[in-house]
């Protein structure tokens, strides 16, 4: 590896981070958007390049300024991080490409550069979490991304976003604090912050009690950030009232990045050293996952605001992801990582389509949506495809992860049968809530001015359909995410004794 390629992991973070203050200076109309999109696109290309390298069987290890770990700052990109980098940068780029018109209508022009600057900070922060190799830098990047994302969520014209974001802020801060307490405890016992170094040094720790406490703090703190049921209270409000483009961006990746940290920390540092921790891990998270699937889907079935409905569906989908990991098996982890990717595709498509709809209708409550889609057949088509993928209809991406999840559950014996029942019931509930959207927007007689709506602008539709067709593509040719998640699952599990 020579030249620029060796520096790719750091470029992933540094470029958006440096662009963030510069964007503020770009006052002329459209320029800030163009710069942000270009940066995001570049980040995506870097992620693609990183993925290619990782797929070649290499793990990238980068030492900032040549200072070697554990003293310097180290970055680390393996297939797990590559998978999430793809999701993150892809979601950001698609949301920006499609979202120009939507952002223009929701954010007044003078504030736009600030908005885009915050966007880049979120991008840089989340990318930083994914490449960082030590616990403290993860915390720093987490704070950068969180603070910036509060700004993004509150940036829209909807005043109801303010209480929602306040809730998000309070809960997010508690989560981050818990995480920091946990990291502090581990540091106290081991004297290191580098994850791999921690793994090695915990062997020498005689008294494991503080480590156990740390595991508790870290798990709960990150579960809060990842909106694991019942700590999901901040999520529906934040997703519902955020500007539509921001919802596309955050819904596809924000919670998944927190889950990434949770898994990495748990599998690399704790599982190997705490006796019986894998059982504790499974016993703690599996019931939560099951409840998330059932309760999240049930609430979504009765929700009457389109964005809130999809937000509750996200709570349920996080449940699926957790369910796979809580099986602590290669197949289960593969299913779970695969579902991160596939859910991002499906939910991304759905929220993109919602953004198209929101541009034309006055309100996203079902009572105002009746008959709207008939005038917007292309938007509706994409919405349908995203919905089918979310349900897990064969031929779509969602089906592949469900298939793996059920296969993994089959290895669990009697418990597995119960888990399959949960997965199946969850999928059927998804049929119900997706179908409610279809019936309302397509079959109900049009209300208000819904009979005279026009289709969303072409660029938006193109991006939305690109994302919708990706659901089909990765449903029929899933080898890329499959290889990444398979390798990642194996490398996570190899830390187990």
């Amino acid at each position: 590896m020579t030249g620029i390629e060796a520096h790719l992991p750091v470029l992933q973070v540094v470029v958006p981070l440096l662009m963030a203050p510069l964007v503020i200076l770009l006052q002329p109309r459209g320029l800030a958007w163009a710069a942000t999109t270009a940066t995001s696109l570049m980040a995506f290309l870097v992620a693609v390049q990183l993925t290619i390298v990782v797929l070649g069987g290499q793990e990238l290890y980068y030492e900032l300024g040549g200072w070697s770990a554990p003293y310097g700052i180290a970055l680390n990109v393996d297939s797990f991080s590559a998978l999430l980098l793809l999701i993150l940068t892809g979601a950001s780029t698609l949301a920006l490409l499609a979202g120009k018109v939507s952002i223009d209508t929701q954010i007044e022009a003078p504030r736009q550069p600030l908005f885009y600057s915050a966007w880049l900070l979120v991008l840089a922060g989340l990318a930083g979490i994914l490449v960082a190799a030590d616990a403290f830098n993860i915390f720093v990047f987490m704070e950068i991304s969180s603070l910036a994302s509060y700004v993004l969520v509150a940036g829209g014209p909807d005043r109801r976003a303010l209480p929602a974001v306040f809730k998000y802020l309070v809960m997010g801060t508690i989560g981050a604090t818990f995480y920091l307490i946990g990291v502090g405890l581990v540091y106290m016992m081991t004297g290191t912050l580098n994850l791999l170094d921690m793994e090695a040094r915990i062997h020498e720790v005689a008294d494991l009690k503080p480590i156990l406490v740390a595991a508790g703090f870290i798990t709960v703190g990150l579960a809060l950030k990842a909106a694991v049921f019942p700590l999901h209270m901040w999520l529906p409000g934040a997703y519902t009232y955020a500007p539509h483009a921001v919802t596309v961006f955050l819904a596809a990746c924000a919670t998944k990045v927190s889950l990434y940290v949770l898994l990495r920390f748990d599998f690399v540092v704790f599982q190997q050293n705490l006796v019986g921790h894998d059982i504790q891990f499974a016993a703690f998270l599996m019931p939560l996952a099951v409840l998330a699937i059932l309760v999240g889907s049930a609430v979504a079935m009765f929700e009457t605001n389109l964005k809130r409905l999809l937000a509750y569906s996200s709570v349920a989908q996080i449940g699926y992801i957790l369910l796979g990991t809580s099986m602590v098996s290669v197949l289960g982890l593969t299913a779970s990582l695969l579902h991160m990717f596939n859910h991002a595709l499906a939910k991304g498509t759905l929220f993109l389509a919602v953004m198209c709809l929101a541009l034309r209708v006055t309100d996203l409550n079902f009572s105002h949506l009746a008959g709207a889609a008939r005038q917007m057949p292309w938007t509706f088509g994409a919405l349908m495809l995203g919905g089918l993928s979310l349900i897990g209809i064969p031929g779509t991406a969602g089906f592949i992860s469900k298939w793996y999840l059920i296969s993994a559950a089959l290895d669990e014996g009697l418990l597995g049968i119960a888990l399959i029942a949960v997965i199946v019931i969850g999928s059927l509930m998804a049929v119900v809530y997706i179908w409610r959207i279809v019936e309302t927007t397509w079959f109900k007689p049009a209300v208000d001015g819904n009979a005279t709506l026009s289709e969303a602008p072409l660029p938006m539709l193109l991006v939305t359909w690109f994302c919708a067709l990706a659901n089909l593509w990765f449903g029929l040719a899933p080898s890329l995410p499959l290889r990444l998640s398979g390798t990642a699952a194996e490398s996570l599990l190899q830390h187990l004794p």
């Binding site: 592949i400 469900k402 059920i406 999928s427």
Partner: protein, 493 residues
């Protein structure tokens, strides 16, 4: 044309047709209808060109892609699928002729969407017929469910949508809740889901689990309408009659029994199932469905709903024949798919023709209608006789084989079921025939009517002729389906 090309073309032609129909629909209805007919005719050419090779014992196949390790999208043509595809494609052409008469006669809305979704449904049907493994079959099975939904909900009013919701709800729930777990289970124990002569599950699963897995398949493939997952079929009757005729008498429902038969023959293997007592319940479940659905049909006052319940009973004939688990009965199951299709599509055509000509839907309105619509009611009579199984109609042939299979297995319960249900069939069809021909006309003044539009009448004459013709010319079909169980037939009387 090589067999591989023919298989892929059979799948591609309806899709291309759908696009063509959508484009032509913007120009003129005549062009659109021409596109439908040309597509249907080309599909017949593609599908039927495979027949000689299948007769010769060939099993052409083509693998499209590998989705996951060991899981492929692949197609392979074997006798059962060949027959199903030939049947569906052949009747599509006739049904298209009928649709033109019906849709125009009733001035239906959104006709372009109707023809487009019809073509898409046919793709799914051919996909099901030709699929080489469970995964591919499931893919097209779901596609068929989704693509027929707009057809069922065609009218778009509140009542229709409610019925369509039942339709979709039951089919999707069963397929995701039962069928999919059964497929994944099969793949995980056997390592494959390929349809293999003799089955793949022997030695991988035993005891009560066999019965359980069979149950997941049978109720998961709810399109076969084995009770209690039959409610969607009467609900689907809100669709325009051509949809009921081709899809809910032939393509969709046959896709269900086709799946079950295929799973029994190629996944379990009939000898394996016969030796496994835990699979015995299927026979009784289907026998119960036959009797119960016939009894419900007795009480129906609406012609289409009566036909729907009759379909439920007839579908379970196929399932029951397959569940007898003897070679001749499997042949009977396959032949009954064909025989029932001819008869039932004729009946639906007749019901639709009556509706188009007179807007009559209830049995009580049919008094003396035979004199106003003699051609239609003659065809209806032939169809009804076929349902009962009276010679010289198609229904007699398949009952013959099913009975022969029942004797092979010394299964007298099957015999009793068939006799009882024949009596019930006669009890609900003969009064209609009597009503139509011998009672006095009660059409109110000012509502006089004659026959339906020419296209509709033409179609039902063709299918009625097929119903009669099949009584004499059934040898090709029987010969084809005997291959299904050929290795098993040798050495047996």
């Amino acid at each position: 044309m090589s067999a591989e090309t023919a298989i892929l073309l059979s799948l591609g032609v309806p899709v291309a047709g759908a696009i063509l129909i959508a484009l032509a629909g913007r120009i003129s209805p005549n062009l659109r209808e021409a596109a439908t007919l040309v597509t249907a005719a080309s599909l017949i050419a593609c599908v039927w060109s495979l027949l000689p090779e299948i007769y010769a014992g060939g099993r052409p196949g083509v693998q499209v892609s590998e989705i996951l390790p060991g899981i492929h999208i692949a197609f392979q043509v074997e006798p059962l699928g060949m027959m199903f595809a030939a049947l569906a494609s052949g009747l599509w052409l006739i049904n298209s002729i009928y649709s033109i008469g019906y849709m125009r006669g009733n001035r239906e809305q959104n006709q372009t969407r109707f023809y487009v979704m019809f073509a898409v449904s046919l793709t799914a049907t051919i996909g099901i017929a030709f699929s080489a493994n469970l995964f591919t079959l499931f893919l097209f099975y779901e596609m068929l469910t989704l693509s027929t939904y707009p057809l069922v909900a065609h009218k778009g009013d509140e009542k229709t949508i409610r019925s369509a919701r039942v339709y979709l709800g039951i089919l999707i729930t069963a397929s995701i809740g039962l069928f999919l777990p059964a497929i994944i289970w099969t793949y995980s124990v056997a390592g494959t889901g390929d349809f293999t002569p003799g089955g793949i599950l022997q030695g991988h699963i035993e005891g009560p689990l066999v019965g359980l897995l069979l149950g997941l398949f049978v109720f998961g493939a709810a399109k076969a309408a084995v009770m209690p997952v039959h409610r969607w079929l009467p609900a689907a009757m809100v669709a325009p009659t051509p949809v009921s005729a081709l899809l809910h008498a032939v393509a969709v429902v046959k896709a269900g029994v086709f799946t079950i038969t295929k799973v029994i023959v190629y996944i379990f293997g009939i000898d394996f199932l016969f030796a496994e007592p835990s699979s015995g319940w299927l026979f009784y479940a289907s026998a119960f469905t036959i009797i119960a659905a016939s009894a419900v049909a007795l009480r129906q006052q609406n012609l289409k709903r009566l036909l729907a319940y009759s379909t439920i009973a007839q579908l379970s004939y196929v399932v029951m024949a397959a569940a007898v688990l003897k070679p001749l009965a499997e042949v009977g199951a396959a032949i009954h798919m064909l025989a029932h299709a001819f008869g039932k599509i004729t009946l639906f055509f007749a019901a639709g023709a009556i509706y188009t000509a007179s807007k009559k839907t209830e049995l009580s309105q049919l008094r003396g209608i035979g004199r106003r619509m003699p051609i239609t009611m003659t065809a209806f009579t032939i169809g009804a006789l076929s349902m009962i199984g009276v010679p010289p109609t198609a229904g007699f042939v398949s009952k013959w084989y099913i009975l022969a299979g029942a004797f092979q297995a010394d299964n007298y319960a099957a015999l009793a079921t068939i006799i009882l249900s024949t009596a019930l069939n006669a009890a609900y069809f003969l009064p209609i025939i009597y009503l139509a021909w011998f009672e006095k006309d009660n059409t109110p003044a000012g509502k006089e009517h004659g026959e339906a539009p020419f296209a509709a009448v033409l179609a039902l004459v063709i299918t009625a002729a097929l119903t009669l013709g099949f009584f004499v010319f059934n040898a090709p079909a029987v010969e084809l389906e005997s291959q299904l169980v050929k290795p098993l037939m040798q050495g047996q009387p």
